[in-house]
């Protein structure tokens, strides 16, 4: 009986993290380019003293890399990636990667993303629109065109999913260089944005699951407590 209450507590702590993850997903149901997080539970301390007891813990939180729905915006500088890949941006903290293609121009005519970070062109160069240009568009290969002339090429890179770490602001940082380009580069759709791939129905189901699991674990803890107090009161009492 001794370890049962701790097994239940470990389960409740794991469910707590699962709730935080479900909350983050639901909060980001409208975030451009957001990828849902998935919790994986695992056994911790499985082979310790008691063979029949295993503590649950959150083993990993991974990204669901499935594509989000595309939404037409008809804004010529909004682009979405069809397929695997990331846009590069230069931030004060270094190069970061994003799926959100909500580009625009800053006050120096540079192509920047929604957060104001400068978009990386090929080779990491910034893409500047010449003074007085009147139409700027991005085509299906990621070429930025001002008044009919190509002025740059958006950098699109691929990574193994495990090489990326979430940074917030729709950005990821990479632990190594991008993977070598394989096959066709992802197609770019201009005038559209990739929406969050959070499925709110799934979010609701996760929420129900977590709260019910937590409730059961609390009952377990309560059950152990009741057994302990019954033992303390009952055992050894003269009949």
């Amino acid at each position: 009986m001794g370890s049962g209450i701790y097994i239940s507590t470990a389960g409740a702590v794991a469910q707590d993290t699962a709730l935080d993850v479900a909350a983050t997903n639901i909060a980001n149901a409208s975030t451009t380019g957001y990828k849902a997080e998935r919790v994986t539970f695992g056994q911790a301390l499985a082979n310790t003293r008691a063979k029949d007891s295993a503590f649950a813990a959150v083993a990993a939180v991974s990204s669901d890399s499935s594509a989000g729905a595309l939404r037409r915006t008809d804004n010529p500088l909004d682009v979405a990636l069809l397929g695997d890949g990331y846009f590069g941006v230069n931030t004060p903290a270094g190069v970061r990667y994003t799926r959100a293609g909500d580009f625009r121009l800053d006050d120096q005519g540079r192509l920047v993303n929604g957060m104001g970070f400068v978009a990386r062109g090929s080779g990491g160069n910034e893409i500047s629109v010449p003074e007085g240009a009147t139409t700027v568009t991005i085509d299906g290969q990621g070429q930025v065109i001002a008044d009919g002339d190509e002025i740059g090429q958006l950098e699109v890179v691929r990574f193994a999913p495990t090489a990326l770490r979430r940074e917030g602001d729709n950005l990821y940082s990479a632990s190594g260089p991008p993977a070598a380009p394989e096959g066709e580069p992802p197609e770019i759709v201009s005038g559209a944005l990739e929406q969050s791939n959070v499925n709110v129905v799934r979010g609701m189901v996760d929420l129900v699951k977590v709260s019910r699991a937590y409730e059961s674990l609390m009952r377990m803890i309560q059950g152990y407590r009741d057994m302990e107090s019954a033992a303390a009161r009952g055992i050894g009492r003269p009949r």
Partner: protein, 261 residues
């Protein structure tokens, strides 16, 4: 749980902003020259409990890390400058731009503002003004005895006065183009102001510099698509509701913990 509470609160705040933006779009569904906006969001920072690639012992590494997010925030509202529907009004001083470009308007402060709303009127001096009474740049004056006014696709304004069979040119309407229309600052009253992000205004005759041509007797309506806005309204409302359920779930879980005896 406390983290989930604040995460869900950021989600509700974001959906509230989205609803505000949608409400403004719907309210302006019939405003001439109005351009719809959209709210843009980004995820907040993450708490890294275990970084990906951490050694787990026995020479293995965790393939995925353990990062828990903290919610969402609104980063921007962006205006979408797609063409609105054109409505025939047959009023000679209603002018629409078919394509890119803005009418420059001289503000009383001496600044120049820009608008897509081409419902022009005449003031007491016969000058072309917008609905607020601010003059269209270029000081185009229509003589008081003019019998008809015609505005050509290239912006040339000509009038027919009594005693003269030929039309007389009264001026030319110019339009301004910007490299980045979305960078314009909205100041209300259908007016926009140039900013560093929009680039400088390039003035020219309609049809030049990639601008559209003018259509007389036509007004550009708002580009708000009411069906789209309704869908946004519904999905925003539902997302708000689900975020509030997260708060309820977290609260119940906290309650269960607190009542353990």
């Amino acid at each position: 749980m406390i983290r989930a509470l604040s995460t869900a609160a950021t989600g509700m705040e974001a959906q509230e902003t989205r609803l505000d933006v949608t409400a403004n779009n719907i309210a302006n569904a019939s405003t001439a020259g109005f351009k719809k906006s959209r709210a843009e969001f980004s995820d907040l920072m993450y708490q890294t409990q275990r970084a990906p690639g951490t050694a787990t012992g026995a020479g293995t590494q965790t393939p995925t890390g353990l990062q828990v997010g903290m919610g969402v925030r609104t980063v921007a509202t962006q205006r979408m400058h797609s063409q609105g529907d054109l409505r025939q009004t047959a009023r000679p001083l209603d002018v629409a731009i078919e394509g890119r470009g803005f009418f420059p308007i001289d503000l009383p402060t001496g600044e120049v503002a820009y608008t897509r709303d081409g419902a022009f009127k005449l003031d007491s001096e016969g000058k072309l003004v917008n609905s607020e009474g601010y003059a269209l740049a270029g000081d185009i004056t229509i003589p008081p005895d003019a019998q008809s006014v015609s505005i050509a696709a290239d912006g040339t304004v000509s009038v027919v006065v009594p005693g003269d069979s030929a039309a007389v040119e009264a001026g030319q309407i110019q339009v301004a183009n910007f490299a980045n229309e979305s960078g314009l600052e909205s100041t209300g009253r259908n007016l926009y102001r140039e900013t560093g992000s929009s680039g400088t205004a390039v003035l020219g005759a309609p049809g030049e510099n990639g601008t559209g041509t003018l259509a007389q007797g036509t007004l550009e309506m708002s580009n708000v698509n009411v069906v789209e806005e309704m869908i946004d309204l519904i999905s925003g409302q539902r997302a708000y509701e689900i975020n509030s359920r997260v708060i309820k779930a977290a609260d119940e879980m906290l309650g269960q913990t607190a009542t353990l005896k």
